[in-house]
């Protein structure tokens, strides 16, 4: 098994020392070393390590040292953040493909097994009459268990960081403290037993207590002296993290500006002779930028207001007025709630009404949605010449079925008022159960901005916007 070296994606820089998750036999030390040193065959590294074992256990010691001190992770991924964030965004590193099932040795089980086997062997040896002096063994085991317990959380921490990225903080739990305290107690007991054993077991309890007190006092003194330094270290770490977060946010915004705004500007310049297209691109870009700057982007599927704004964006992007001009919809939303089947039908009807207003009416087109505990109302208005509502032929499917029918089937009402001098207004109202309250914190004003929501991820605006799902809740892409 030798998948550790992937020449195709290996950057020219030397990857940092990491213990890779795949391709490891025990803890990934040899594999990581091979990658770091650029040795093509990981077996060679393993061989060297094994060969070093007889020389006073150097191989073993090195292995253990690296195991403890080298963080786990993908060496190639670790070498990526060296480049500035913008570049990362621009030229995305090819992903590692499908997640490989990480093969892991059950280290914990192995250790327990070895300990049990050793214990059994000792018991057998004792029974066989071999009375080797093994009194040091128990304290040593206790000590080792304590040390392993304390060190194990380091590995855990690194694993959590590797899994959740740098930004994900390790959740504050009791278990690290317990581990640390348990490890300390065990190690202390082990040391005391060892010392007691070494001095021939003749140590008086009083002396022991005295020495313990002295040791604790020394530790406390050292801690007191080292505390400022340690505090400064912690603070600097926090500062550095904050700076990095700011930096990454700035890189994000810069990348976004590059991805979308510059691109749109280039497109606009290229198509300067097409006013409709230019106006539409500018509008779409404005919407997107506003969303970036002002909106609290809501979780998909939780905000009716956001879904309505997505519908507005789709109509603005795909429809033009009677003279072929781009039309801006002035959307105002009051209140918000979690979307359900009722509001989905209302959204569909609103979309049809909006398309009618944009295509057949005259701007400005206004959209107003009011969410109250018992009902959701939508008004769509244009300033066109109006039409005779009673004179719509029964076979005209547009208004009658897609707007009125949709809402009526949900127990709602739909009225269309139209006059030559005041344009057309469609009023839709759908009852909703009051059990679902608006899912917005009262401190946040629900409609903060100008129909800014557009749930297409930042990117070139040239591709057609996908149509709203024909039935059910409108689809939302996870950002």
């Amino acid at each position: 098994m030798r998948p550790t070296v992937r020449p195709s994606v290996r950057p020219p820089v030397r990857p940092p020392l990491r213990r890779p998750e795949h391709g490891r036999r025990l803890a990934g030390v040899a594999a990581g070393l091979a990658v770091h040193l650029g040795v093509a065959r990981v077996g060679l590294v393993r061989l060297v390590l094994v060969l070093l074992v007889p020389f006073g256990g150097v191989g073993l010691a090195l292995y253990l040292f690296w195991w403890l001190s080298v963080p786990a992770g993908d060496p190639w991924a670790a070498s990526a953040p060296v480049r500035p964030g913008v570049l990362v965004r621009l030229a995305r590193r090819p992903a590692a493909g499908v997640p490989v099932a990480v093969r892991r040795w059950p280290v914990g089980d192995l250790v327990v097994g070895v300990l049990l086997v050793v214990g059994a062997g000792l018991l057998l040896a004792r029974r066989a009459g071999v009375s080797a002096d093994v009194s040091w063994l128990l304290p040593t085991i206790v000590l080792l268990v304590g040390v392993v317990l304390a060190w194990s959380q380091l590995d855990e921490l690194q694993r959590g960081r590797a899994a959740g990225g740098d930004a994900a903080p390790t959740p504050r739990r009791l278990s690290p403290v317990l581990r640390l305290v348990g490890g300390l107690v065990l190690a202390g007991v082990g040391v005391l037993l060892l010392v007691g054993d070494a001095t021939g077991g003749g140590v008086e309890p009083g002396t022991l207590v005295q020495s313990v007190v002295a040791a604790v006092a020394v530790l406390a003194g050292v801690g007191l002296v080292a505390a400022p330094w340690w505090l400064r270290l912690v603070r600097e770490l926090g500062d550095e993290r904050a700076a990095r977060a700011r930096e990454s946010e700035r890189a994000d915004i810069a990348a976004h500006l590059h991805d979308s705004v510059l691109q749109t500007l280039a497109l606009i310049r290229a198509r300067a002779d097409d006013p409709t297209e230019v106006a539409r691109m500018a509008r779409a870009q404005e919407r997107e930028l506003r969303e970036w700057l002002y909106d609290d982007r809501s979780v998909p599927g939780t905000s009716l207001a956001a879904e309505l704004r997505a519908v507005v964006a789709e109509v603005e992007d795909t429809r033009t007025g009677p003279e072929g001009q781009a039309v801006v919809v002035d959307a105002v939303v009051v209140g918000d709630r979690v979307p359900d089947a009722q509001t989905a039908a209302l959204l569909q009807a609103s979309r049809e009404a909006l398309v009618n207003a944009v295509v057949h009416g005259r701007p400005p087109v206004s959209l107003y949605m009011e969410v109250s505990p018992r009902s959701v109302e939508v008004f769509v208005r244009d300033r066109g010449d109006g039409f005779d509502v009673a004179g719509i032929p029964a076979d005209r499917f547009g208004v009658r079925e897609s707007i009125v029918g949709r809402v009526r089937r949900r127990g709602g009402t739909a009225t269309v008022t139209s006059s030559p001098d005041r344009g057309t207004e469609v009023h839709l109202c759908v009852p909703v159960d009051g059990a679902v309250p608006a899912d917005v914190p009262p401190a946040a004003p629900p409609d903060t901005s100008h129909d800014t929501s557009h749930d297409v991820p930042p990117g070139p605006r040239a591709e057609p916007v996908r149509p709203v799902a024909p039935a059910g809740a409108p689809e939302q892409e996870v950002r």
């Binding site: 002035d330 206004s366 107003y368 208005r381 005041r422 401190a443 946040a444 004003p445 901005s449």
Partner: protein
């Protein structure tokens, strides 16, 4: 500035059109606004920062100040800071806030600091002149968005209707009706026709709502403003 105080009034009523001071930190935008205004208004001064704005407005005492919400300088308070520092002038000079941002915190900050209205920079020339003239006549200018925010802040449930005229924390049924129509995109004239009342009455209702928005201690508004350190 003290020497200009005595001569302030004549400037504001100088014959041809409403005197206006433009406050915006973008020269291009000021030029654009200047070009889009017609002869019903007269631009008497411009300013590009908070301190400059306070000085110019105090010196010129225009009838209307077109005030950008986001301004450099001063203590970083932007348009709301200009309004606070010009508070003694609010009796004679009206402020109309103008911003590219539709964020509610911007709207409310300037309205509560004393602006008589709020329009976005997407507004076209004639509509902007209309708004300026309206504000100069001591009326309030409510865009659909501002009306939407008012409805949001004061609540739309049935129990939120004010019973007395002196109640600051709730809208009366009529005021809410007017706000809803404005939010639906109706002009004041259309609102009047729809409700069978005069345009003057609509203006009265809108001014009453503006006063409530400025003075109300309605807990949503207060908490919301406190969270953004507006108060």
């Amino acid at each position: 500035m003290t020497e200009t105080r005595a001569t302030a009034a004549p400037l504001a009523q100088d014959g041809d059109g409403v005197s206006v001071v433009l406050v915006d930190d973008h020269h291009m935008f000021r030029a654009g606004v200047r070009a889009s205004l017609d002869d019903r208004v007269r631009v008497v001064g411009e300013a590009a920062s908070v301190d400059e704005a306070v000085a110019v407005v105090s010196a010129l005492r225009p009838a209307v100040v077109l005030l950008d919400v986001h301004l450099p300088g001063g203590d970083g308070g932007g348009g709301a800071e200009v309004l606070r520092r010009c508070a003694p002038l609010l009796g004679t000079t009206r402020f109309l806030a103008l911003s590219v941002s539709d964020a509610a915190e911007d709207v409310v900050a300037v309205i509560r600091a004393g602006a008589r209205g709020y329009v976005t920079k997407a507004i076209d020339g004639p509509a902007l002149v209309d708004a300026v003239v309206r504000v100069a006549g001591d009326d309030a200018v409510f865009s659909p968005r501002l009306a939407g925010f008012v409805l949001d802040a004061f609540g739309t449930a049935a129990g939120d209707v004010a019973t007395g005229d002196d109640e600051l924390d709730r809208l009366s049924a009529r005021e809410r009706e007017v706000m809803r129509l404005i939010a639906r995109g109706y002009a004041y004239k259309e609102v009047a026709a729809e409700l069978f009342i005069s345009v003057k009455t609509v203006e009265t209702h809108v001014s009453a709502v503006l006063r409530k928005l400025q003075l109300s201690s309605r807990h949503e508004l207060t908490r919301w403003a406190a969270a953004r350190r507006l108060l």
